[in-house]
Amino acid sequence: MRALLVTLIASGCLRGQNIYFYSDLQYDASSGNASMYAQTGADYSSQYYYDVFVYMQLNVFPEGSSQYITCQRSASNGNADAYVSCSVNVGTGTLDLELISSHEITATYYTYQFDPYCDWSCYYWHDAFRMSFLGISGEVWESNQSYFAPGPPATPVPQRQTATGQIVRRRSNRACNFPASESSLFWQWSTWYPYAAGFVGLLQGGPSFTGRTVTEELTQLLGDTCWHQGSPYAPMYIPYSSWGTWTVGTLIGENGMVIGPSYNNYGLDFVGFTDATQIGYYQQRLRAGYYPAGQCGLVYQQHMYMDGCGGLKQKYWIQGLEMYIRPYQVEAKRSSVSATR
């Protein structure tokens, strides 16, 4: 699975706005020092309409003694990003850390109570800060058209609409195991890309790795051997942006839906090609004998990492990724397991 950050594009009038929440927890198990940072950020076009707020606290769970809370910090800002940071020594005994950060963006607007003896029906909703950005449009409620608020003796009553989010990060210095090896299992072909094969990663050397994060780094061993001078296509490659991240214990399909729990397994990891037309073009050339090897494609080395509980992630496995086009077939191979169609 991949953790993705989605650029915020406001519908309607406000283009290019970016509002983001970010937090980070550093923990040095040898000294017991923990440092954390949290930020609610917005670009100028967003700050123009909204205020930002951030709060964080560190929950410490020492083994054998009571939980406590430290590094409670908050910051708000109407004209700039809001951020907080803190460093604290939590000791070197066995413990678990949990950083919770709350992030808010708030639009402030006013209703005007123009008749002190009326209740809700006597307010005028003044939408000065364009609530449409938050998915809410301003409305006007008037109980009597002869009153035209705002204006004396109407009283402005501040109202707020808030979008909020919370991020939890955990670290621990408990003993942390890593897989001894990994094997692959072909699961299914993609429904969107007919030449992309979905694989499941099977971890060996438990106990349980459930909930741990697996990431990959790729090294190209063999560039696009299909490409030739005059090809209508650029050389194929796997961009950095496609490097994957998965959580052990749950299989996720290409549409983001959970396929199901799967003990000590992760996936799906899709390997293959996106463009069927391009495949067809190279297959025609293969059939015409342009490639003496009878196939062409790409080869990568996949370096697998797992998060290190409280410490750094660790590389636990290296395997090959191979993608070949043949005259009448395409092969996607992960480690020693291949899928052809």
Partner: protein
Amino acid sequence: MCYLELSTFRLASSVLLIVVLGLPARPQEAALNREQVPRHIAYGILFHEVVVLDREANELQRQGRPAAYLLTRYQERFDLSPTDSASLRNVAAMCMPKLSALDQAAASIISAVKSEYRGKARGPGSQVPAPPPELLRLEASRKETVESCVSELEALMGRGAFAAFEARLKQHIAHHARIVPAEKSAR
């Protein structure tokens, strides 16, 4: 976890270059919600955190407490050489004052509008005017400044080391940052 997690497509294709360059993604890509945080935002977050946590490290050192783990944090996280780690911290330290100056200029414009429109009675239907051109210019300047700092960092690190660093940064940002979907976030 609180961040959005979706399955990944790690596919070889020249077509993916189009996505990287920011041209319209195909419907499948959109369905995967693959859009990434803009580069200048990612580096803006990083530079700010670098400077703030370096400040924390200095404070720890001043108190005689261990701070080495903070000073080497990016070296370990992004697998940087000591020289490249120092370059990152130096570029961030050099970049942030420039960004702060722009932030202050923007803040004065934003502050003036907010104080004008908050807590004051106005006629029905009155709305805050669209952001003034000067604010948008500052926004563009901020982006250019970040990109300029990034270019400087790339020059110091060298193309190969920088590419590997940037790939790890993207992974880090994807794991540690989250953006609220606009239309669904109100409550």
